[in-house]
Symmetry: C2
Subunit: 156 residues, 2 copies
């Protein structure tokens, strides 16, 4: 169940970044998230809600990573985190989750997506009131790094 | 549409706090959220996702407010924000949204709820990639204060 859950997000992350941003990130080993803090400086967050499951997906970028990913997406060069960069992280969060949603539906986990949010700040404490663990996958590419985190719990 | 959206959250907030916490908060005037920052020190956040609408709801407490609300909910006295307090804010976020969900469904806005999150820190910057404005309502009671914020956008 847990690999089934995270694999669609890994696949969709690679797909979105390679097709939209010309970046081929290398995923590391998935693990259980061990703290409650944001990993990077810019974190896209999206609520996942279906009739039988609920959760959240987050993608958290370091500064170099987000400037390169968004710069490639928008064909611009960014040297700081502007509102355009923040909005683009929301779009990327949405696109990755949209891709994962399709694969999740094929294994019976139907979800709709909430409005993406983008939070600024590393080490910001965020708890989730989830019965399932949060899975986290580190990604790296030449210019930067990010992590993808996802959790889906059965509704009671 | 915007009053229709926020009224179920105001009603449910008063209902949950009065029945579960023996607190009768007074709502102030709803307005459009003018910045992108968390208002209080502890903020419950929940994604809202339905077939035709999507959004987020947040409830952000000052320190005195959260200690009193959660203390009353759990029949304990808290002097600091413990993990129990944080978890209880997640539950309160869930209960308020659950109440609003019912009223929203009666005006044709069907939503499911994502897993509640609770963030620590006032003035944390959070942007939402929403086409609709975020409505914010201040609440006060004898021992503290909080704000409720909600936004629901039509899916494109």
């Amino acid at each position: 169940m847990q690999a089934e859950l995270i694999n669609p997000f890994i696949k969709s992350t690679i797909n979105v970044l390679s097709t939209m941003c010309a970046i081929n990130p290398t995923p590391g080993k998935p693990s259980l998230k061990g703290d409650k803090k944001t990993w990077g400086i810019v974190t896209g967050i999206i609520g996942l809600a279906g009739p039988s499951v609920m959760g959240n997906m987050m993608i958290s970028f370091d500064t170099d990573g987000v400037l390169k990913v968004v710069g490639n997406l928008l064909s611009e060069q960014y040297t700081e985190i502007t509102q355009d960069v923040i909005d683009a992280v929301g779009e990327i969060t949405n696109m990755i989750t949209g891709g994962a949603k399709k694969d999740l539906s094929e294994i019976g986990m139907m979800i709709e997506m909430a409005t993406p949010m983008v939070m600024i700040g590393s080490g910001v404490e965020i708890s989730q009131l989830a019965s399932a663990p949060i899975l986290t996958v580190p990604f790296s590419f030449q210019e930067g790094a990010f992590v993808v985190e996802a959790s889906l719990s059965q509704r009671k």
